[in-house]
Amino acid sequence: MGVDIRVENLNAWYGPVHTLHDVSLQIPANHATALIGPSGCGKSTFVRCLNRMHETSPGARADGTVLMGDIDIYKDATPVEIRRRVGMVFQRPNPFPTMSIYDNVASGLKLNGFRKKRVLDEVVERSLKQAALWDEVKDDLKKKSGASISGGQQQRLCIARALAVDPEVLLMDEPASALDPVSTAKIEDLIFKLKTQYTIVIVTHNMQQAARVAENTGFFLMGKLVEFAPTTKIFTNPSDKRTEDYITGRFG
C-alpha cells in the first residue's frame, strides 16, 4: 500500500538559481497525482526532491519539509534509505546496458545484497507482469540485455525494475515523452492499474495524459505551485487565471 506525502514550504536551488519557491501540497496515498506546467517550471525539480535525487546534481540543494507518511525525508532518513522506498522512472529509458533483463529487474534487490534466488525469480516475474512486459520477454530473460529491446519495452522494464523493490511511492518524470503512441498507451494503462497499490506522482507535458490517468493535478509555473486540485476541476473550472491560460493553450 502506498503512503501519503505532505510537502511544506519546499525550496530548491541549482547553485545560485532559485528553482522552487515555497511549494506546499499534499499528495494522497494510493492515488495518481499529475504535475503539469510549461518547460522549466520546476515540476521535474520538485519530483526529484521527493526522492532526494535533486541533491546528486553538483551545487544543488533543497530546503523545507517533506513528510512521507510520518517520516521527514530530509531529517529522519538518509537519501539511500528514502530511495529504497521511493521508485523513480525517468524520462528516457535507462536500463543497465550490461545486464540481462532478469538482472535489470532484480538489480534493486541484488545490488542491495538480496541473494535468495527463488524469491528473486518470483519477484522478477511479478514485476514484469505488473509492468505488462512479462509475455514479451519471458523466454529471453537471461539471454537478452536490457538495452537490446525496443524503447517502449525498455521503459516498461524500468518500471518493472522500480516496482521490484516494492516502493511505497512511484515517481514518474514524463515517462512516456520519449515513446511512440502505442507504448504511451500501454504505460498509461499501467499507471491506471498501479495507482491503487502505490502513490504515484507523474510529471507530464501532456494534459490529456494527466486527465486520463490522475485524480489530482498540480499546475506549476516558474517554480511556484499555482494550483492543486482534483483533475476534473483543474481542467474544467480552474481557480487561477494562469492555470486557465495554460490549459487553454494561451502559452506553454
Binding site: V123, V182, K193, T232, T248
Partner: protein, 366 residues
C-alpha cells in the same frame, strides 16, 4: 459577456475518472495487457510485498562503506602526487654530493672525467638538445604532411589501415629501434648516405668524415622516426577538432584544397600542433635506449654531425652500472634530476597548449 469556457478534454466533465477513454485501441494492445483485476498483483509468489520492504528497510544505508570506498579512491589518486614527490625527493637527496661539489658549474663544464673525478654536464646538454632539435626538424614536416594526407587526401578505405600502421610505429619498443639502428641504419649512414652528404653538404662543416655511422646524425634520424607518431596523431586529433564549418566557409569562397587546409584548419589548429611538437620534443629529450645504441657515447661538443655524441639519458644508461665512487654516482643522478625537471616542464607546457586548443574548439563548435 462571459467568455465560454473552453474544455480541451475528450472526456465529458461530469463523468468521474474511470477507465481511460481512447479511440478504438488496436486489438493487439488489448490482448497484450495482463488479464488481471484492477489492483490485484499477478504474483504467484508466497513472498509478500512487505517482506521485500522489510528487507530493504533493515539494510544499512551504506554510509560507512561509502566513506571507506571514497577514501580508498582518494588514496589512489593522491598516489600520483606521491609518485612525483617520491621521485623528486629521492633524486634530490642522492644528488646532494654532486650539487655540493660542483654547484651550478656542473651545467657549464665541458669535462667529463671519471678518472680524476671532474664532472661536467655540458656535453650531454648539448647532445640532448641538438639531437632532439634535429629530430623535431626532420619529424614535424613529415608528421604534418602525413596528418594532412590522412585527414583529407586519403581515400576512406585506406584511412584506418594507414593510421593503424603509424600507430604501430609508436608501439615498437626503443630497444628494437636501437637494434635496427645498429645493424641497418648505421651501415647505411656510414656507407651510403654518408659519402653523399659529405660530398654535397660537407662545405657546411656539418658532415665531415671520418664517419663511422654511430654519430649524432644517426641518433637524430632514429629519434625523428620515434617521435613522428606522437606529433602525427595529436596533430590529427587537433585538426579533426576544428569545426567543419570553418573548412566549409573557406571552401565556399573558392579555395583550393591546400588553401582550405592552410586557412581553415591549420591556422585554427596552430596552437595544438605546436603543443604536439613540444610533446614530441619532450619525448626526444628523454629517449634513452635507441639513442645510446647509435650515438657513439663520446662526450664532445662539435659541429660535425658525423662525430659521436652523448646525451643526458645515454650517459646514465651507459655508465651508471659501472660507476665507481659516490661522486660519480651522484653526478649521474644529478643528471637524471635535471632530465626529470626539463621533461616535466616541457611536457607541462605542451599539455597546457593542447588542452587549451581542444577546449576552445569544443566551446565554439555548435
Amino acid at each position: 459577456m462571459n467568455e465560454p469556457k473552453i474544455i480541451p478534454l475528450p472526456t465529458a466533465p461530469e463523468e468521474p475518472l474511470s477507465a481511460p477513454h481512447r479511440i478504438a485501441p488496436p486489438p493487439m494492445i488489448k490482448t497484450m495487457l495482463p488479464q488481471t483485476e484492477m489492483g490485484s498483483p499477478a504474483a504467484v509468489a508466497p513472498v509478500t510485498p512487505s517482506a521485500i520492504r522489510m528487507f530493504l528497510q533493515a539494510k544499512s544505508s551504506g554510509r560507512m562503506a561509502d566513506g571507506a570506498f571514497a577514501a580508498l579512491m582518494v588514496v589512489c589518486a593522491l598516489s600520483i602526487f606521491a609518485i612525483v614527490v617520491l621521485i623528486v625527493s629521492v633524486l634530490v637527496s642522492h644528488s646532494q654530493l654532486s650539487i655540493k661539489t660542483f654547484g651550478w658549474h656542473f651545467f657549464s663544464t665541458r669535462t667529463w672525467d671519471p678518472v680524476s673525478g671532474d664532472f661536467g654536464a655540458l656535453p650531454f646538454i648539448y647532445g640532448t638538445v641538438l639531437s632532439s632539435l634535429l629530430a623535431v626538424c626532420m619529424a614535424v614536416p613529415l608528421a604534418l604532411a602525413t596528418s594532412i594526407f590522412l585527414l583529407d587526401i586519403c581515400p576512406k578505405f585506406l584511412r584506418a589501415p594507414i593510421s593503424f600502421l603509424t600507430e604501430l610505429l609508436a608501439a615498437i619498443p626503443s630497444v628494437v629501434y636501437g637494434l635496427w639502428g645498429v645493424f641497418v641504419l648505421v651501415p647505411i649512414i656510414r656507407d651510403q648516405a654518408g659519402p653523399v652528404l659529405e660530398k654535397y653538404l660537407g662545405w657546411t662543416g656539418l658532415f665531415v668524415e671520418p664517419n663511422f655511422g654511430v654519430n649524432m646524425f644517426t641518433a637524430s634520424v632514429i629519434l625523428a622516426i620515434m617521435i613522428f607518431p606522437v606529433i602525427s596523431s595529436i596533430s590529427r586529433d587537433v585538426m579533426r577538432a576544428v569545426p567543419v564549418h570553418q573548412r566549409e566557409a573557406v571552401l565556399a569562397l573558392g579555395a583550393t584544397r591546400w588553401e582550405m587546409l592552410r586557412i581553415g584548419v591549420l591556422r585554427n589548429a596552430r596552437m595544438g600542433i605546436i603543443g604536439s611538437v613540444i610533446l614530441g620534443l619532450g619525448r626526444a629529450l628523454g629517449e634513452t635506449i635507441a639513442v645510446t645504441m647509435v650515438i657513439g657515447n663520446h662526450p664532445a661538443i662539435l659541429k660535425n654531425l658525423f662525430a659521436p655524441g652523448y646525451t643526458l639519458a645515454s650517459v646514465i644508461a651507459n655508465e651508471f652500472t659501472e660507476a665507481t665512487g659516490d661522486l660519480y654516482l651522484s653526478a649521474l643522478i644529478e643528471i637524471g634530476l635535471a632530465l626529470f625537471l626539463v621533461t616535466i616542464i616541457v611536457n607541462a607546457i605542451a599539455r597546457l597548449l593542447v588542452w587549451a586548443v581542444v577546449r576552445d574548439n569544443a566551446g565554439s563548435a555548435h
